[in-house]
């Protein structure tokens, strides 16, 4: 006992001593000065970066930088016929978005016009060219070669840099994030694609347990995968273009390393363990009698894939030369070989081999494929750049073919001018872009890339749905495979990817969302970094012999996966490099980190890395101080100033892992290098809506992330000007009483989706079991949960090849009374389109279209055939369960001059039994009963609830956040201010309780309540207060369905399928099994035949074939004809069999 006490005392003493040593005399309990309101950096960040900016940055990079690189890489078009001819692209530029037709008065157009008119929001691509015409060189500037879809809010978009008023004039919402395209009137998002990083060595263990190091090389010219793997304890080089695995020593020898000692030193250094492990490879090579480079090349040459051998026409080269070529340019293509200097590539292969040897000895050196640092995100810009390069190459090869065709002609009437040809080909690039973006199929032959579903239609169900879609990341991983690794939450995704926002079901964990403060890098120049590295003391590796590379203090320096050299002072090198970055001498997105496992320093400046800003800590103090934040609030500093002043910096995942990041200032220790800006930024935009998410069970937050996207609310400021296929709007949306900082930053308080309902958590009426809600009728009368559904109905007035065209007809008059119109056509205006504001009932016509009966054959002007000019009615009639109102009618032309008519029909719905509601905590429920206000329980103040929620929803769900939301909401209402439920912070329960007590309520939030039915008090106190409730888009009206009799399918005469076709309810296989098991044979007969496709047949008992009306055509007799009933499908089967020369004969017997 005493010992233990002494122990405790000692340990306390030790801790104090330690504290003394660590904290420079400051006690553990001393207050730490904190920077007030450092979260204000967040809105400042979102102003310049974040959420959707990565799409826009990526697109801007593509359009402003990458396009020129592509042009440069493909700048010349030559002719096989005329060696003097050439065409050279000297420049490229994308113009402002313009209408395609040349005659338009005002050629500039807005994205909203494109949405309405089903156009593509695009701009011309202009190139500058230089070419040969006759004998002179002609230069032209600004030749259009096609049209490029323009991303909204990108550098070329008309919306960028506009203020709210200007945006309003363009019918655009200032809160709309942009970052998507408008293609054929549809808003399309190119989803962020997640991939393994390129040009990096990744060591993993394959299914058979063999270690292999793989590299996906990616250069402008080609993509290839190279592996250095083990087989039976020996190491081989694998590549697609070589049919057999090449022993690694042979490969190295082929690349010019002839000495075994050199190889050993480059792979193993001086480590005897490694040498032991590696030596069998040397043995194998010598046993194969390969000693020289030539022998090795011959060996490899004999293994080259025969199919890949044909290098165009001409003479077959010796195999060894081909091997050299393949080793030089295909294997590990990203390690470039200049002037046949294979030294860098040798070292690279050696390093790969070393990694394999190391992993063979130590299993923990295998890389984690799911580590976020090993991932790269591919954005719109990169995908479009691949697409453009492909289209441009095709464009050039088509151009070349045409040039050759013309130049081949011996006598041309006029001098050949390639300019006319160039203009002629414009459509290829335009339509290529449009096709790819609108279908989402990215098929590039060059890289053998075939990807579907790259783009998606931007969901405009709610503001949050649209925003959530912009931050979505889809993985290339197959959805069907049942593996947990790629789906699991990765510790390294902290702060980068939202831990909550992922769908349930098959795509769970594969589709992710960006966190609030992430940024995705774009490619940056390498050359200055190479120079800087050498200046800072990196030694070129090709100048070294083997042994010094792997000395204990020697670190290899990698730049974007390529070996740059070595450094002996890694810490100094890295800190100097970081100082340069903080000083702004190199891009803030360059990352550098030390990997102690591999004794290497990695510098990255490639695109697609995820990074986020953090506050720099120096000497135990954060660099951002209160005065900086004050200046920020005063508008004197912006986020970029913080970067430039070296107060904050961006870290990518790899560098983050190499840093010591404190969560709060109070947790800073001397080793700390950074401190978080705000912990709640680990969540994304969608999860940021949840109040007190840190009090909820984690799956509940995930459920809410899915449901927040289905909530009906305000969509955008321009919601009433939009004509969307389906638009859900709430009539009186409210901002939540309990909001979060994220809500304010993304603008959810301005475009909310829900209402603050007064909720009583109690059991009532029994119609609230299984999460059903009880709604107050008076609340509904007063507008609670009321929503509008607007649906677009569109039609084209077509012109047909024979010159006929669709037309609109005026409403036909009533047959009895020529002064009135038939009810069906009542809402039509004189022009044959429904008038705006009319109430339209189901079945009524809103566009009275007529189509020509003859659309194929030519109709002469003087044709006497009366049918030639006849029209048949093709009216569009309104089908819905509920009457609606014509909200808007649009009549316009598309870009190919066809008349487009869109009608928007609006329904206003009040909540009804079965409509779905949800709070912000993944607690969904349907309305179970609507009860009168007087039956509702009421509190002492006379308040009665809008919604009664069953308390059984709480114990198993453990959504404590919802309870705190209620408490905070109630306190907010009483105090007259909004409360915060920000993650890892927010208003404290204690403070909320205090406000409640001050206002004469119980601290617990539970009220004394009187029953509205009996008038006597309830014997329990009821948890009572406002909770933000969302109305979800699933409404019974769109789902309810019943059928007694109805339409049948033509072929089988069975009832049709599906609600939209008024179909039957299927008695499926399993239900049938139940009936069989139960023995309800007559019920079976009724369900499967009598109520379905019963059919009476006549069967000939003689031949067993089907007859007709008591006559057997086969026997030519009516003798022995029997009548019976079978399913029509059965009769159909018999006849189909007969048509295939199989005769089914029926043998009839009396059963009873």
């Amino acid at each position: 006992m005493e010992d233990a006490q002494a122990d405790v005392k000692r340990s306390i003493k030790e801790a104090q001593d330690q504290a003394e040593a660590f904290f420079g005399g400051k006690g553990l309990t001393d207050p730490i000065p904190t920077v007030e309101d450092k979260w204000k950096l967040l809105p400042a960040f979102l102003k310049v970066k974040g959420l959707v900016k990565q799409h826009i940055d990526s697109f801007n990079y593509f359009i402003n930088v990458d396009l020129e690189n592509i042009i440069k890489a493909n700048e010349r078009v030559k002719s096989d016929v005329d060696p003097h001819f050439y065409l050279k692209y000297t420049g490229i530029r994308v113009g402002a978005p313009e209408r395609p037709d040349q005659e338009a008065m005002n050629r500039s157009y807005t994205p909203h016009e494109c949405r309405l008119r089903d156009l593509t929001y695009s701009a011309n691509i202009y190139v500058d060219i230089e070419y040969v015409r006759g004998r002179q060189i002609v230069r032209r500037k600004g030749v259009p070669i096609g049209r490029m879809p323009i991303m909204l809010r990108s550098s070329h978009c008309v919306l960028t840099g506009r203020n709210e008023l200007e945006l309003a004039k363009m019918n655009e919402c200032p809160l709309d994030p942009g970052g998507y395209f408008v293609v054929k009137g549809v808003e399309k998002v190119i989803l962020v694609q997640e991939q393994m990083s390129k040009n990096r060595i990744i060591v993993d263990v394959d299914r058979k347990g063999f270690v292999q190091a793989g590299v996906t090389s990616s250069t402008m010219e080609r993509k290839s995968k190279t592996y250095v793997g083990t087989k039976h304890g020996k190491i081989y080089l694998k590549h697609n273009s070589i049919s057999e695995d090449i022993p690694i020593v042979v490969a190295l020898k082929a690349m010019g390393m002839q000495s075994d000692k050199e190889i050993t030193q480059l792979v193993c250094g001086q480590d005897s363990k490694y040498i032991d492990k590696f030596s069998p490879n040397l043995e194998e090579c010598s046993s194969m009698k390969i000693f020289t480079q030539q022998q090795a090349l011959d060996y490899i040459g004999s293994k080259i894939d025969a199919r890949k051998r044909s290098f165009g026409p001409g003479l077959r080269r010796p195999a060894s030369e081909e091997a050299l070529e393949i080793l030089g340019s295909v294997v590990l293509a990203h390690v470039e070989v200049f002037d046949n200097n294979f030294r860098p590539k040798c070292i690279y292969v050696a390093v790969m081999t070393r990694r394999v040897v190391m992993a063979m000895l130590r299993g923990d050196l295998v890389d984690d494929r799911d580590y976020v640092g090993n991932k790269r995100l591919e954005l719109a810009g990169q995908l479009l750049s691949l697409l453009f390069e492909d289209l441009f190459k095709k464009f050039n090869s088509d151009l070349k073919m045409n040039i050759d065709k013309v130049l081949k002609k011996p006598n041309r009437t006029q001098e050949f001018d390639v300019y006319s040809q160039l203009l002629f080909h414009g459509d290829h690039i335009t339509s290529g872009f449009v096709r790819a973006i609108s279908s989402g199929n990215w098929s590039l032959k060059r890289f053998r890339m075939e990807r579907a579903g790259v783009t998606q239609v931007l969901s405009r169900l709610s503001f949050i749905a649209a925003l959530g879609m912009m931050t979505r990341i889809s993985s290339q991983f197959e959805k069907t495979r049942k593996v947990s690794g790629p789906r699991a939450l990765q510790p390294s995704q902290w702060g980068m990817l939202c831990p909550s926002d992922t769908p349930e079901g098959e795509a769970c964990g594969l589709v992710k969302n960006l966190a609030l403060m992430t940024h995705i890098t774009v490619d940056d120049e390498e050359a200055p970094l190479v120079k800087l590295s050498y200046i800072l003391g990196c030694e070129d590796v090709s100048l070294l012999t083997g042994p010094e590379v792997y000395l204990p203090d020697t670190f290899l320096v990698f730049l974007n996966g390529n070996i740059l050299g070595i450094t002996r002072h890694s810490a100094q090198f890295v800190s100097a490099f970081r100082r340069m970055r903080r000083a702004g001498r190199i891009s803030e997105f360059v990352s550098i980190f030390i990997s102690d496992h591999h004794n290497s320093v990695h510098i990255s400046c490639d695109g697609g890395r995820i990074c986020r800003p953090l506050i720099i800590v120096e000497n135990g103090k954060p660099r951002v101080r209160t005065e900086h934040i004050e200046q920020l609030s005063a508008g004197k500093l912006a986020f970029d100033d913080f970067l430039r002043m070296g107060l904050i910096e961006y870290l990518d995942v790899n560098e983050e892992s190499d840093s010591n990041i404190a969560l709060y200032e109070r947790e800073i220790i001397p080793e700390s290098t950074h401190v978080e800006i705000e912990p709640f930024t680990i969540l994304g935009a969608v999860a940021g809506l949840i109040p007190y998410p840190h009090h909820n069970q984690s799956p509940r937050n995930t459920y809410q992330c899915a449901m927040g996207k289905q909530a009906i609310g305000a969509i955008a400021y321009n919601q009433l000007n939009r004509i969307d296929t389906l638009l859900y709007l709430m009539v009186y949306p409210q901002q939540p009483m309990v909001k979060t900082k994220t809500i304010e930053m993304i603008g959810y308080d301005k475009l909310p989706a829900g209402q603050n309902a007064t909720v009583a958590v109690m059991s009532n009426s029994g119609y609230d079991i299984e999460d059903a809600l009880v709604l107050n009728k008076a609340s509904l009368d007063r507008g609670y949960g009321r929503c509008q559904v607007l649906r677009k109905y569109a039609t084209l007035l077509r012109q047909y090849p024979n010159g006929s065209y669709d037309r609109l007809a005026d409403p036909p008059v009533h047959p009895d009374d020529p002064n009135t119109v038939q009810e069906k056509y009542e809402v039509l205006d004189k022009d044959g389109i429904a008038s705006v504001g009319e109430r339209i009932k189901p079945g009524q016509v809103y566009i009275n279209k007529q189509m020509p009966t003859n659309t194929s054959s030519d109709i002469g002007v003087n044709s006497r055939d009366p049918t030639a000019n006849a029209y048949k009615n093709a009216p569009m009639s309104y089908k819905s369960g509920m009457e609606g109102y014509v909200d808007k009618v649009l009549m316009t032309t598309t870009d190919n001059d066809q008349t487009l008519i869109k009608a928007l029909i609006r329904q206003t719905r009040r909540p009804e039994l079965g409509d779905k509601f949800s709070s912000r905590h993944g607690q969904k429920g349907v309305c179970g009963i609507i009860i009168q206000q007087e039956d509702m329980p009421f509190s002492d103040l006379g308040v009665c609830p809008d919604v009664i929620m069953n308390p059984h929803g709480f114990p198993s769900r453990m959504t404590v956040g919802k309870m705190i939301e209620l408490l905070a909401g109630k306190a907010g209402v009483l105090k007259g201010e909004l409360q915060y439920g920000t993650a890892f912070g927010g208003s404290k329960v204690e403070d909320m309780s205090r406000i409640l007590i001050e206002n004469g309520f119980s601290y617990s939030g539970k009220d004394y309540v009187t029953s509205g039915v009996t008038g006597e008090p309830l014997s329990a106190y009821i948890y009572f207060g406002p909770v933000y409730y969302q109305k979800l888009k699933h409404m019974v009206m769109d789902k309810m369905h019943s059928r007694s009799r109805g339409p049948r399918a033509v072929l089988t005469r069975q009832p049709t399928e599906g609600r939209s076709r008024d179909g039957g309810l299927r008695l499926g296989e399993m239900e049938r099994d139940c009936l069989i098991g139960y023995g309800a044979s007559m019920l079976l007969l009724e369900r499967l035949m009598i109520s379905s496709d019963i059919f009476e047949i006549h069967v000939c008992e003689m031949c067993g074939l089907l007859g007709y009306a008591g006559w057997c055509q086969h026997c030519k007799s009516s003798k022995g004809m029997a009548k019976m009933q079978i399913p029509y499908a059965c009769k159909l089967l018999f006849q189909e069999l007969q048509s295939m020369n199989v005769i089914p004969r029926l043998q009839l017997q009396n059963v009873f």
């Binding site: 009433l720 009539v731 009728k777 008076a778 009368d781 007063r782 507008g783 009321r786 509008q788 504001g837 109102y885 909200d887 609006r906 206003t908 009168q932 206000q933 007087e934 009421f938 002492d940 103040l941 006379g942 308040v943 009665c944 409640l996 007590i997 004469g1000 309520f1001 119980s1002 601290y1003 004394y1008 009187t1010 509205g1012 009996t1014 008038g1015 006597e1016 008090p1017 309830l1018 014997s1019 329990a1020 106190y1021």
Partner: protein
């Protein structure tokens, strides 16, 4: 286990019968038990004379829209009946049909109609008949309003004016813009108090230059149970009279802490022989927050109850009918109902 003996002298049948007991985490004795044969030896049969003697009604507050009164000596069922009738069954006039000739405002037709529906109409419903579904509107069952507003630019507005109310004329359409158009002899009948919306400043919709609304509005008589717009009250409710019983004495600093557990004015701290002592002065002001039950130091020293038959009734009228009249009408509705029951009972008895 022997239950802890509580020292409250009145924790007996009398308390159970006449008080609702507010405990820390539940309410007990909620249901009334004063019916015959419930307590041995007590005849609790209802007696009109006794009722007349004990029933009291005292108005505490009265304004145009609000009233609070005490109703003492009545059963919860009856008090609740009044409350329910006030909410749902006292008829008023409200907008029921809206004929929209033109509406180019931002608010769509259905929502505009819904908003108009919730505007309370100042008209005496007793002077109108209910309109059946098939009936045609007449001056006896329908009030007609016209709402015709067009928005224009204000020529006198200052340059660069940003407030739409100053920049434009009729930027907002208010309920006061609804103009009564008397039908038949309505003008004569309602000479004294012309029909109009109760409040003139309810924003119905907003307009911008060039937009207009041209609407004819028909009001009908109806009941709150059909739609909340016909409810004559914002709400009507009651609470039971709180009662705070101190067992023994709470003195010293504890008395101040005790006082703090209640809203201001409920408990006074008086000095008695130089010692601070808590005294309950006005339990009516207590909101029954049960704060005092949270503190261990007051355990068994205080008991909260509520008087079962003392209703502090409050009526918040929407303004169409004054609250005192509302209550009278509610009583009449209840009497009509009982009359109906009585008649049908009689006829049943006679039939037997």
């Amino acid at each position: 286990m022997v239950p802890e003996k509580k020292n409250f002298s009145h924790n007996d049948l009398d308390t159970l019968r006449s008080r609702v007991i507010v405990e820390r985490d539940r309410v007990t004795s909620t249901a009334s038990t004063d019916f015959p044969h419930n307590y041995p030896g007590q005849d609790l049969a209802w007696d009109f004379e006794k009722f007349k003697e004990s029933f009291k009604l005292k108005i505490n507050k009265l304004s145009k829209t609000e009233m609070e009164f005490d109703m003492i000596g009545i059963d919860a069922a009856v008090a609740n009946a009044f409350r329910r009738i006030l909410i749902a069954e006292v008829p008023t006039m409200a907008v029921s049909n809206v004929f929209i000739m033109n509406n180019t405002s931002i608010v769509v037709d259905e929502v505009l109609a819904h908003r108009l529906g919730l505007v309370p109409i100042l008209a005496d419903p007793t002077k109108f008949d209910f309109k059946g579904k098939e009936e045609t509107p007449t001056d006896l069952n329908t009030i007609v309003f016209k709402l015709q507003v067009t928005c224009r630019r204000n020529p006198n507005a200052a340059e660069g004016e940003t407030d739409p109310l100053k920049k434009y004329i009729h930027a907002n359409v208010y309920s006061g813009d609804m103009k009564w158009s008397p039908q038949g002899d309505q003008a004569e009948r309602f000479k004294e108090c012309p029909i109009k919306p109760v409040f003139d400043d309810i924003v119905v919709t907003k307009l911008r230059p060039g937009q207009e609304v041209d609407i004819e509005i028909h009001c009908e008589k109806g009941l709150g149970q059909d739609h909340a717009k016909w409810s004559p009250v914002a709400t009507a409710s009651y609470r039971l009279m709180p009662e705070i019983l101190i067992n023994g004495e709470i003195t010293g600093e504890a008395a101040v802490r005790f006082q703090k557990c209640f809203p201001e004015g409920v408990v006074d701290v008086v000095k008695e022989n130089g010692v601070k002592k808590a005294v309950v002065v006005n339990p009516r002001k207590d909101t029954v927050s049960r704060e005092v039950l949270r503190h261990a130091e007051f355990e068994n020293k205080v008991k909260l109850t509520r008087v079962r038959d003392h209703f502090i009734f409050s009526i918040e009228s929407v303004g169409a009918i004054e609250p005192q009249d509302l209550f009278v009408q509610a009583v009449k509705v209840l009497m009509d109902k009982t009359g109906t029951v009585k008649r049908s009972l009689q006829s049943t008895l006679q039939a037997e």
